[in-house]
């Protein structure tokens, strides 16, 4: 069974600075997808960024980028120029398509606070 570990329960960063959230996962699969989801206090989960394991190039979405190290099974999220609106829970998630199943396996999350 796949597992996802986020070792930082809470983090804080000053506005406009850069922060990196860590995520490691365990799988014996070769083809899979990795995601970072954001869950603001209102609780609506929003996709931040996704990475396909067969792609070597790290995904980037505006201020958000990932460092995907497949051999190390590591998938960290870097947030540049942090904004107050980035304050939220961040979940790392793993997905492997199997027989139509697209189950997302989530880590426990990292609570990020951006301070003014």
């Amino acid at each position: 069974a796949q597992t996802v570990t986020q070792s930082q329960p809470e983090m804080s960063v000053q506005e406009a600075e850069t922060v990196t959230l860590s995520c490691t996962y365990d799988t014996s699969e070769n083809n899979y997808y990795l995601f970072w989801y954001k869950q603001p206090p209102s609780r609506q989960m929003i996709l931040v960024i996704r990475q396909e394991a067969y792609k070597q190039q790290n995904a980037t979405e505006n201020r958000f980028s990932v460092n995907f190290q497949k051999a190390a099974k590591s998938f960290s999220l870097k947030i540049s120029d942090s904004q107050l609106g980035d304050t939220a829970m961040y979940f790392c998630a793993f997905m492997k398509r199997q027989g139509g199943s697209e189950k997302l396996v989530f880590g426990k999350g990292t609570k990020l606070t951006v301070n003014p």
Partner: protein, 116 residues
Amino acid sequence: EAGVAQSPRYKIIEKRQSVAFWCNPISGHATLYWYQQILGQGPKLLIQFQNNGVVDDSQLPKDRFSAERLKGVDSTLKIQPAKLEDSAVYLCASSSITTTGNNEQFFGPGTRLTVL
């Protein structure tokens, strides 16, 4: 485009009572998911539907939980009888699987269940 709708937003019941949650996915999304998110943890998949068929219900406690999606659109999740450990946020998500493999799941606001 309207997002995933869920109701009620909050529900408080006593143990051994029954409760039902409703979800309406994004129009045209064939796949619907129910996740359970216990406080301090990441969401855990309970059941995945493809149209009105069940794809994955391996983590659904079938002795007390049931779910249906009769017409392949909206869905209900029921708990009967509820236990204290069922206190959680129940998240509904939907996705549209395309030939490009886009598998983003869109989440609703969730229903917070408290069992006393």
